[in-house]
Symmetry: C2
Subunit: 105 residues, 2 copies
DNA sequence: ATTATTTTTCTTTTAAAGTGAAAAAATTAT
DNA sequence: ATAATTTTTTCACTTTAAAAGAAAAATAAT
C-alpha cells in the first residue's frame, strides 16, 4: 500500500525536484496551496502533491498567473484548476475559508 | 440612438471616473483588455466599456488578481469573466490571439 | 504661429513573489 | 547530557509586473 496519495517525500526533495527554494513551499502552504502531512515537525508530500505543485508552477511561470488568482479559481471550483487539484488541497481550502469567515464575523 | 454601446466618453473622463491614471487605460489597451474607438486620434469609450473596466479593477484591487490571469480567463471563455465582458473586448482578443499565433509561426 | 490637448516614450514607485541569512526549535548522534 | 545536524521560522533583501509621473512627440484649436 504505497500509492500516489502516500505522503512520503520530504520538503527538500520536493523543492529540488521542482527547482524551487524550500522557502517557496512554506510560502505556498500559508495559502493552503498545498497540504503536506506532519510527522513530528517534518513535512511529507505525496506524488499527487508534487504534480499539483508542478501545475501551479506552470500556471505561474509559463502562463504568468499570480498566487491570488489560483486561489480564487480554487474557491470558485474552476474545472480546469480543480481537475489537477488534489482532494486534500480542496479540503484544506474549505478549512482556510471557514477560518477566514470566522475572523470576519 | 444613444445606447450603452455608444463609444462617446473620452479617456480622461473614464480615468477620473475609475480613479485611475489615463496611462493605466493605455496600458490595458496593449493587452486588448478594452477597445475604445478612435475618432482621429482620440479614444472614446462606451458605458459597457466602463462597466467592464470597473469589473477588471475589482478583480485586480479587491481580489488581487493580475492582468495575465484575467487575460487567460478571457481566452478560456470563462463564464464568470465573460458574463461581464463586452462583446468587442472578446472580439479584440480574437484578433490579438490571431496576431500572436501568426508571429509564432 | 502659438496654445492646448492627447498620445507616446522613458523613468520611477509600489507591492507581491521568491529567496538568502540566520535564529529558534527539534531531532539525531556521540 | 551535550554536541551536531536538520527542519522550521523570522527578518530582510531582490526581482518583476502594475501603475503612475514627467516630458517629448503628435495633433487639433485659436
Amino acid at each position: 500500500m504505497f500509492d500516489e496519495y502516500d505522503k512520503s517525500y520530504p520538503i527538500e526533495l520536493v523543492a529540488d525536484f521542482l527547482g524551487v527554494n524550500s522557502r517557496t513551499l512554506y510560502y505556498y502552504e500559508r495559502f493552503s496551496l498545498v497540504c503536506p502531512i506532519r510527522r513530528g515537525r517534518k513535512r511529507y508530500y505525496s506524488k499527487v502533491d508534487i504534480r499539483w505543485l508542478e501545475y501551479v508552477r506552470e500556471l505561474m511561470y509559463d502562463q504568468g498567473m499570480n498566487l491570488r488568482s489560483i486561489i480564487i479559481l480554487i474557491r470558485r471550483r474552476d474545472n480546469i484548476i480543480l481537475e489537477k487539484c488534489p482532494e486534500d488541497v480542496v479540503d484544506c481550502f474549505k478549512n482556510y475559508l471557514m477560518q477566514i469567515n470566522k475572523q470576519e464575523e
